[in-house]
């Protein structure tokens, strides 16, 4: 068993060093030069309304994360049929390279990348630095959304192995299975001082974090301009918290979309075995009978 583990770790290390960042990230400079490239499909996933319409990267098509990438009735990711239809309407072909970007530090674009990964769509890349960097570099934006001819992409069924469910996380919390849990929320949320950031409507009945989780806020993975840090730096940062890829990793946050950002960094840039727990704290903190660590002792309704 030990030998097997060592070989697996060595293979993972080799694979991660071979996987270059450019397989999963594109720079703003590269994209600016390749806007007219017919093999590229640019998709924007922004959360603020009107942002795409009033100016987007020329040629980009809009995906609305809260109606297009999720099921709006039951809490789940978008169905295969719906996503396939959406991507075909966006002109995505079987051999297209998809470039995702969005506002608010690419959080929702990263969610998109994770959803695409579940449906095993190949050639998905994130624009390093997202909308913020494109705008900061004063590059062209266009308010015109052109109609595109339908693409021919087909999707496979969802791969459940990329998604962590409540039962998986409870198993880790109760030490019945081994994994590194990363809570990417702010320290105040992790410690249980607050249930959620100010102004957020989706709260939970209990505050705190999953037993055994380490707190590595998502911002640690990016530089000041929003671009991801280099794989070597990322490896060091997460190793300091005991996450070095020898065990499977599960990332979570409040609703699972910021944790997609960290998922992307660890899975794609470092090659670790990472699952995103999209139920996140709004599911775990509301679930009955699960173990919780609440350092601050905050109780719903007052101490």
């Amino acid at each position: 068993m030990n030998l097997f583990k060592s070989i697996a770790a060595l293979a993972a290390l080799l694979a991660s060093s071979l996987a270059s960042a450019s397989d999963f990230l594109v720079s703003t400079e590269w994209l600016a030069k390749n806007l007219k490239n017919k093999d590229i499909r640019i998709l924007e996933v922004s959360v603020n309304p009107g942002v795409y319409e009033r100016g987007h990267i020329p040629g980009a098509v809009n995906l609305s994360w809260h109606t297009d990438l999720v099921d709006p009735v039951k809490r789940d990711i978008v169905s295969r049929e719906h996503l396939e239809d959406l991507l075909q309407k966006a002109g995505v072909n079987k051999d297209s390279t998809i470039v995702l970007y969005g506002d608010t530090n690419n959080w929702f674009a990263a969610w998109g990348a994770w959803v695409f990964d579940i449906y095993q769509i190949d050639n998905v890349k994130l624009l390093d630095g997202g909308r913020n960097k494109w705008e900061a570099e004063k590059r062209d934006l266009s308010p015109v959304a052109r109609k595109v001819s339908r693409g021919n992409i087909r999707l496979n069924d969802a791969n459940p192995n990329l998604r962590a469910r409540l039962s998986d996380v409870v198993a880790v919390a109760e030490q019945r299975s081994e994994a590194d849990l990363i809570d990417i929320r702010s320290p105040d949320e992790y410690q249980g001082k607050v249930f959620a950031p100010a102004g957020i409507q989706e709260l939970s009945i209990r505050a705190g974090h999953v037993p055994g989780a380490v707190n590595v806020p998502w911002g640690q993975a990016v530089a000041a301009d929003g671009t991801f840090k280099s794989p070597e730096e990322l490896r060091k940062i997460y190793a300091a918290f005991g996450v070095d890829g020898d065990k499977p990793v599960i990332t979570y946050c409040r609703i699972g979309e910021r944790s997609s950002h960290t998922w992307f960094a660890l899975k794609k840039l470092l090659g670790y075995d990472v699952r995103n727990y999209d139920g996140s704290w709004t599911e775990y903190g509301n679930a009955v009978g699960v173990p919780v660590v609440n350092l601050a002792g905050t109780v719903w309704g007052g101490k």
Binding site: P49, Y52, E53, R54, V144, A145
Partner: protein
């Protein structure tokens, strides 16, 4: 006691210094304010809102684009010029909006609504709000945008109307949850292009507007031209000219920022105040999901709409000063009471209708929203009722 700037009409081509110095200073101050906003906040939209508001204020004042006044002119003297100006604004704005829609949402069948456009739910609440707003307009003598631009002309009852507006908004927030759960949550949000496509919706709206224009032109009775003597900087603009420019401004403002609207900031002040007093309900169900002049609990001092109406008042003041249109006189007691009462009715109506004659009527119709038309019809009805009441009781 009356302060009036109306002097002898002059015919020299350039206005005298006494008329020019204040507008120039105001514009310089606005430029400085806009620049420092950008330096302090980095938000260019704030500066843009200020300038667009200033232009709007100038247009409103110069063309006397006061919904109540022009409608009353038609009721009293069959002078339809003002109403035709509003129709012109709607026609130009509708065309402009649809051109922008084609860029924002080329596939109208996608089921999405265009971002930020004032397309609201249609229910009896909208009808009640529009009627209330119309009666309020008649009582106070001006709608919200008119009150704001007439501050620049020295309308002394304006602060009273605004006090009434804030109270009315507060009442609106208190009644909101009941109205939302009873009627608005299930009310349809009807955007005409969903059913007719862009071409169909545009054709239908332009046909309706043309019909209204023809009717008004037929009924219009020529009056002795007033205010046509005097230099170019004194004369009132023809309302149709102001209307055309306002239609264009509406398009540009929607393209860059948001639809024209003047109640978002006042409503937000009312919402914040109601909350500070502890009277605001814990949650205003669904309010923040609906489209219209959105109110928020104020967290920052400067907001797009706050600067927009600030610019409006300054622009109107500059234009009024230049033309000598400022008249300040002591209000009568009855006038003051009417101002507050009218304000309250407008505030409540504007809150539940998610906007006023600018935000729901103008911006709604321009966006091909059924809510805009419904508001227009019932606001007119309320206006007529209020006007008759005033005539009957000599208010």
């Amino acid at each position: 006691m009356v302060f009036s700037m109306r002097a002898d009409f002059q015919t020299s081509w350039l206005p005298p210094i006494s008329r020019v110095w204040l507008p120039v200073i105001l514009i310089v101050l606005v430029a400085i304010a806009g620049h420092s906003l950008v330096l302090n906040t980095g938000d260019y939209d704030l500066e843009l809102s200020l300038w667009l508001g200033l232009v709007f204020g100038v247009l409103l004042q110069r063309s006397r684009f006061c919904f109540y006044c022009v409608t009353r002119d038609y009721f009293e003297r069959q002078d339809a010029r003002g109403l035709l100006g509003i129709v012109a604004a709607l026609a130009v704005g509708t065309v402009g909006y649809h051109l922008v829609f084609g860029a924002f949402i080329p596939d109208v069948g996608s089921g999405r609504l265009p971002p930020g456009a004032h397309i609201g739910p249609v229910s009896w609440v909208l009808v009640a709000g529009a009627c209330s707003f119309g009666v309020g307009m008649a009582l106070s003598g001006a709608c919200v945008s008119a009150v704001l631009y007439r501050i620049g002309e020295g309308m002394v009852t304006a602060p009273l109307v605004i006090v009434g507006l804030l109270l009315g908004f507060g009442l609106g927030f208190l009644s909101w949850n009941t109205l939302y759960l009873r009627a608005m949550q299930e009310a349809p949000v009807v955007w005409l292009p969903h059913y007719l496509g862009y071409g169909g919706a545009l054709a239908l709206q332009l046909a309706l507007l043309a019909g209204v224009a023809l009717y008004l032109s037929f009924r219009h009775r020529r009056v002795n031209a007033d205010n046509v003597t005097g230099a170019w900087w004194q004369q009132r603009w023809q309302t149709w000219a102001g209307g055309l420019l306002i239609g264009m401004l509406g398009t540009v403002t929607y393209l860059r920022l948001a639809p024209l609207g003047v109640t978002a900031e006042l409503g937000s002040v009312a919402r914040t105040g109601t909350q500070i007093l502890g009277l605001l309900p814990q949650r205003l169900e669904g309010l923040d999901t609906l489209r219209g002049c959105a109110t928020v609990i104020k967290e920052a001092l400067w907001s797009n709409n706050g600067l927009f109406i600030g610019g409006l008042i300054v622009g109107s003041w500059a234009a009024a000063w230049l033309a000598g249109d400022i008249v300040i006189r002591k209000p009568a007691l009855g006038e003051s009471v009417r101002a507050v009462a009218g304000g309250v009715l407008m505030g409540w109506g504007g809150m539940v209708a998610l906007g006023c004659t600018v935000g729901t009527l103008l911006s709604g119709i321009m966006a091909s929203a059924l809510s805009g038309w419904v508001f227009a019809v019932f606001c007119l009805l309320g206006l007529y009722l209020g006007w008759r009441l005033r005539q009957r009781y000599s208010w």
